[in-house]
């Protein structure tokens, strides 16, 4: 039988198929954080069940942590309690924790790939919907609820029905200044926020083959924003090169054995998908969202569509924007470069290339939040920190930060923020905050200009 990449990885992890029911899927790696794990640990304790495979779980603190003075006690009592509870639970149950102050601490979806915890052909889960990020390595990776976190704790498995399969092909060459973020925002704008529901996506074609691992992670990260449980890209030399030599990557003979296996992880020529889409890379432009879901996106320079629909109108009202409006020239007071979508070294290199030798606009508060301690270290070593500081940007410590505003990093009510994060939902970045999602390049240019600029019409660095 001809199999897709998804079939190959899924089928290799099926422990048992329940007649007329779901399958028991084995989970290779379980990532946890402070917000969605405490109730799962409590559930196991109430039942008197131990963690089945604590060595297959890795924890970090990212969602609610402050991004200033991480060496001090967390000021917010509730956040402090959650982080303390994570520390206690990990100690009690023998789970490795990269907590605040640890050189490996970071956003869970930045930390695991850069340490080589994420490897091709794995099944990975985490109580966070952006777990789809790890699909960039040809892994089946998806977000789960806390009940499922408890199930993985108890058995290292989940009960699931196999999702349907979707392939999205993007062929041709991307135009200048079109980044992976634009590619995924374009796809979601074309297909809509619920197009992927019930499906696992494979991204295929020239565009993804030519993309860096950081770019592939940005794309797979936002699979959930079209409703897909996950997205994956077949591992290739780019993948192997990235994984090789990482802290927890296989070494020596084990590396050779794994590499031989990973090279088989490709969709067979005659394998079929439930749904398939084709896009032309040349049609993709730098994108920006205008509404309150990530599917409400346009090419910068295009006008906001004019739909007669109450939900659409409610969304524009929240954003204080008009149908048919052009966003170019819109004054922006906040810029956030960070989140599990765009806080890797490549993202900051691109941002710095637009900022070097310039100053942020006076009206702008610009926040740079590295995805991990390792990225923060790299920013410093490569001299990017000097560029950002000289331009008046605030550089913070790693965490989820203003992507979801669980800590102090919130966008004030009524303010617009150009953000490299993944969700423009009402109140996502703080009650009343209005989010425009865009690439790190667009965010950097916005910070310098203090307004939205049509980057296709300007000379870029």
């Amino acid at each position: 039988m001809h199999k897709t990449l998804f079939d190959k990885v899924w089928d290799a992890h099926v422990v048992e198929t329940i007649p007329d029911g779901p399958q028991i899927l084995y989970i290779d790696k379980h990532l946890i954080h402070e917000v969605t794990s405490p109730q799962a640990f409590a559930e196991l304790e109430q039942r008197g069940i131990p963690l089945a495979r604590p060595e297959k779980t890795v924890a970090t603190a990212d969602h609610n942590v402050p991004t200033i003075d991480q060496h001090l006690t967390i000021k917010d009592a509730l956040s402090r309690k959650q982080v303390q509870m994570l520390t206690e639970n990990c100690e009690k149950h023998g789970v490795t924790l990269y907590g605040l102050g640890h050189p490996y601490q970071g956003i869970v979806h930045v930390m695991a790939p850069e340490l080589g915890i994420t490897q091709p052909g794995m099944t990975m889960v985490c109580g966070d919907s952006h777990t789809s990020t790890h699909g960039a390595f040809g892994t089946i990776a998806f977000g789960i609820g806390t009940s499922q976190v408890a199930q993985v704790f108890a058995s290292q498995c989940l009960l699931l029905n196999k999702p349907k399969k979707m392939r999205i092909n993007v062929n041709g060459a991307l135009r200048e200044n079109v980044l992976p973020k634009d590619v995924i925002l374009y796809i979601i704008a074309k297909l809509g926020t619920n197009s992927g529901t019930g499906h696992f996506v494979e991204y295929a074609g020239d565009v993804f083959e030519n993309m860096s691992m950081e770019g592939r992670m940005t794309v797979c990260n936002m699979s959930i924003e079209m409703g897909a449980r996950g997205g994956m890209i077949a591992p290739d030399e780019t993948t192997f090169e990235y994984v090789k030599g990482k802290e927890f990557a296989p070494k020596g003979e084990e590396w050779e054995r794994k590499l031989a296996l990973w090279k088989t992880l490709k969709t067979d020529k005659n394998a079929t998908f439930d749904v398939e889409y084709e896009f032309d890379a040349a049609d993709i432009s730098p994108m920006i969202t205008y509404g309150t879901n990530p599917g409400m996106g346009i090419k910068i320079g295009e006008r906001i569509p004019s739909l007669e629909d109450p939900s659409f109108e409610k969304s524009l009202k929240y954003m204080d924007l008009e149908k048919g409006q052009d966003l170019v020239g819109q004054v922006i007071n906040y810029v956030f470069i960070g989140s599990c979508t765009n806080s890797r070294i490549e993202d900051f290199r691109i941002a710095a290339s637009q900022i070097k030798g310039k100053q942020k606009a006076k009206n702008v508060t610009a926040l740079i939040v590295p995805g991990s301690q390792q990225v923060a270290k790299q920013i410093k070593e490569e001299g990017l920190q000097d560029v950002f500081e000289a331009a008046g940007f605030e550089i913070r410590q790693s965490g989820c930060s203003a992507c979801l505003g669980m800590n102090e990093d919130k966008i004030p009510a009524g303010e617009y923020c150009v953000s490299t994060s993944n969700r423009n939902f009402e109140g996502r970045q703080g009650p009343g905050a209005r989010t425009f999602l865009a690439s790190p390049l667009v965010a950097a240019v916005t910070a310098v200009e203090g307004r939205i600029v049509d980057v296709t019409q300007m000379e870029l660095a």
Partner: protein, 197 residues
């Protein structure tokens, strides 16, 4: 988990599409370490004004509507995987959510907390939302065993789909942990023979 067999109740209409889990329970309320009390902040930013007063225009603050059935627009529960959204709905008192489409992770989370998500066609959903506005006291009857939603006053009798395993879990109040733990030997054997993991 609480058992679910049948339910008769009035319904609360929420005709908004793409209601994401950040609306159901905003991230700033996810700092609790137990599952209780999330109902207080259900739909927080729609339910309260910026000053913290009850928003009289939001349906949960309108005494015309009540009940343990929520009827909501398409693509309910999209976004974050936070199970706190299901806990908040359950804690507030909702047992059934009716929509034309649910996001995957939310649907799973609801079922794992004894909440029944019922999918009905878009045109019927729109008709139901209109009718609840016109007659707020119409009774909804849900029968899980027969997979049927009945609204006598409207002559509506709609069959709905549910995964047979999840149906069995809801009716008996079972959850996946018990089942998976009972499979520990099979899982250990899988680990031994599987060389890819």
């Amino acid at each position: 988990m609480q058992k679910f067999t049948t339910l008769t109740s009035t319904a609360v209409p929420l005709p908004i599409e793409n209601i994401d889990t950040d609306q159901i329970i905003p991230a700033r309320f996810l700092k609790a370490t137990d599952k209780k009390g999330f109902g207080e902040n259900l739909f927080r930013d729609w339910r309260y004004t910026k000053a913290g007063d009850l928003n009289p225009n939001f349906v949960l603050n309108d005494t015309t509507y009540s009940g343990s059935v929520l009827v909501a627009g398409e693509n309910f529960g999209c976004g974050s995987s936070r199970e706190h959204a299901a806990w908040a709905l359950e804690d507030y008192g909702f047992k059934v959510i009716i929509s034309s489409f649910f996001a995957d992770i939310f649907k799973g989370n609801a079922l794992n907390n004894g909440i029944l998500p019922i999918i009905i066609p878009e045109d019927k959903l729109k008709a139901l939302l209109r009718e609840i506005h016109a007659q707020p006291k119409i009774q909804f009857h849900v029968d899980l065993e027969h997979q049927e939603l009945v609204v006598e006053d409207l002559g509506l009798r709609e069959k709905f789909e549910i995964d047979p395993y999840k149906k069995m879990c809801l009716i008996n109040g079972y959850d996946d942990i018990d089942f998976l733990v009972s499979k520990s030997e099979v899982i250990a054997a899988f680990e031994k023979q599987n060389t890819t993991v």
